[in-house]
Amino acid sequence: MPKITCITTTYNEGALLLTAVGSILNQSYRDFEYLIIDDGSSQETLEILSRLTDPRVRVIRQANAGLSAARNAGLELAQGDYICFLDADDLRPNWSFAAIASLIDATQPDLVLCPGVLSDLRGQIEDFYDAAVFEQIAQFLPEGISARNNPKHTRLCVMAQQLEPQSANKVVGRSFLQAVGLHFPAPYFFEDIFFHTLAIVQADRIAILDCPAFTYFRRYQRHQITATTGELRFDIVSVAKLTLDAFALRPEFSDLAYRNVVLASCLKLIDWCETCLAHPLRATFRQNVREMTASIDPRFGEIQHDEGLSPIFMAALHRHLLVSNDRV
């Protein structure tokens, strides 16, 4: 069995896909398999996939079922001890698997969290959006590994929850995933917050990588889901509801700071989705959000004024809880 399985889902990326594929096949670390789940692409992408002859690559085709379903198909088929994801238009630097494997060997984690790099629309190269949170974590946990019995562990989870819920920033133990039954919430988009929250809260051992392991590209040359202004954005409300309900069943729910940060991270995404949404849809979206927040465990409405929560998270909490204050 390979040490690492990397899963990429494709949907009409065309030649852009070769960037992601090349970056994986050029990894200096060789003990991995690469699963490409094609989610119903048209001919151009299929032709590119048909030309991949590296024995470490497995291409699986399915009828279009959405990103979450495609990733879940990959999870089912993965054979590696650890699983990571890479979007078809992104890239992993060629040292990333070696660094990840080395950290895994040293710490035996359930979950590795990795910093990343952002290439923005103007080609400006910066640290990924959550670099400041990684800095805080490095200060708080210089040893870079925490187990559940570590007194710092809950606090680490609270900080980690504030990282961007990106699939590329996680490497997850396959046995851990099977044990907790974690998957992506098909058929929804904006699915990452669910996986992010439940991976962090359920992992017994969390390790932090200290070098960038992926690059997220914002491009004009391709339409990205994160740029949509349409009804797809309503998915975030459903995904937030699933996330909050699942978290409410966890023992960690009793920790007020943790509860706050999980709610805030969902609301932050909801706020972002609303600001990207077409105006004619916004009223309905807000109504959906109100109904969603009214339906979650009322204890989510208690706020601890914790200095550890960044202002943008705090603002999201206040904005939404004021709306539904009468219920709290």
Partner: protein, 618 residues
Amino acid sequence: MKGKPVNRLPEHQTSTADATVFDLDDQIELHAFGQTISVFAPKIDFLRADSLWRLRHIYQRALSTQSLAKEGVALDIGAGFGVFAVPFALACPGWQIFCFEPDPTAFAYLQKNIDDLALSQIIALPFAVGHTKEDAPSDAKAVCAALKRLQYDTEAKLDRLTALLPLRNHSKSLIHNGYLERGHNTSAEFSFVKVPTLAAGMLEVLSPTLLKIIAPKAEVEILTDLSQSKIDHVIGESWRHIPTSIQQAPSAGLRQTWIPRAGQSQFGLRRSLDISGQSSHLDVIVAIPSDGDVNFSWIADLLSDPSMEIRVLVVGDEATEPAKLALQTCSRSDPRVRFFHRPNAGQGSSWNFGRLQSSATHIAFVDAQSRPEQSFFQGLLELARQTGAEVVQGPFYGLEGEDPFQIPFGVRPQETHAALKPRFEIADTTYHRMGNFALISEPPTIWRRVYRRDFLDNRRIWFPEHLASMGEFVFQTLTLSAIPDVPTLDGVIFGHAPSKPAGQDMACCIIESFRILLNRAGGEGWNELSPLFQTFAFQLNKSVAHLDAQDQPAFLKSAAELWAYAHKLFGPDAFEQAPLDMFGSVTFSEHFAQVFGKLGPLSTSQAWEFLSQGSYCD
């Protein structure tokens, strides 16, 4: 504990190297490329901090965005104590790395680190790298042979290679220890040294695929010398302007590049893998009118530079006098000029058509009233490439008087609202950044700008062809609403004659243009709407004053209807900066109240539907 470096320094540096002793306190930890290692580094705070900053913020980030092959040859020019080469060699064991470091102290540390970590794939050379034109050795063949031998025989004698190289002037900073720049800097801050210098052109024999360059004041010469080499990755930092034309040779490798300008992280040489299939040049699309006085001598001026960087697409009716004049001016035999015959096409239609024929990464749209200075578009293309900005622009002024094409010498435009903005260097001029909202509220000046083609395509921004006028206004608003700022070049300018007075259909075009914009703003989820609303009020009030009295009520009613739809769609908060009294018309207010009242029970999406339907110009 102390260690001494293995001395591989050539004779002229032996005394300094012998004096270098290494204290274990001199070690610092490097975290990069997945490696954590302790290396020896000179005990100079500035040098350490500077090197570590560059490792983390430039080298590691840049290589995180590029897919490296398993094997390759890297040139590390300005290697210092090995801050890049050492972790890179550990992370990429299939790569051979040639380090060039002329400073004896830094070189001694570099060699110590290589030896301690047994990094046999690094070959350290105590040379500066210079320009073939000035630093060519007397026996180039022997230098190339010696360099090639180093690839296979690491024990090859450096002294022999060193003896073949000319000694060239460099200036060493006395304040920032470790900073060495090309040339003789006469400032008291510098001391003068002569160092053996290898002409960059010689490095081609090593077949490099990655170039890391820290060579203050020698960057342009080195990159020029290597401009034909098949290099896939170029990273570093620059201390002066590096023209992007250096990177444009068609056979020069992938040239994925990230070299920010020191102190200006938003500016610098950048290039990522191109997947668009577009050609990296600027197409200037010239819409030719069917009549009127025109002058196209500027097209010939524009093409006086023989490079293929700027090309011209002329679109118009070939049978008309202006088109004939344009064709006479810009020779048909010049492959950089193409003419497209489009009878009876409006200006917006011609620009759209020209764009569809273009394969360029950058596009400009100009008209018969244009008179750009000779280097105007070269400057804008350079600014666009160095900032990566979606839209860049230059200053302009209006051409008036009997001869509209006579540029009054000595007159330069004053962009007063930008006077206090910080200026940044670019080539021999400067630029500043103008906020998009300030520009939206100005009259359209789309012809003084250069646009990224992928941006226009991604945002589906075209000229509305059904509008006899106001198309430029729609285009300007759509482009500027989608970006944060516009880098604006100082210096060279664009002359533009005032447009013809508006025709009788101007009123309906104003209404229709705002319908288009409000519809786009609603569908695309614009969040900053005030500039659009302010401009609407400004245009409306201006137009009313020019309309015949009998036409005013219908115009105001149509405008009020739009305003009511917008209120319903965007909600009251969006109008905090745009109160009803901006319009100063009772008719407008009354009709607004009437329509808004009718919309009361309807949903916002129905208001948007109204904005999506039909045209006020039908």
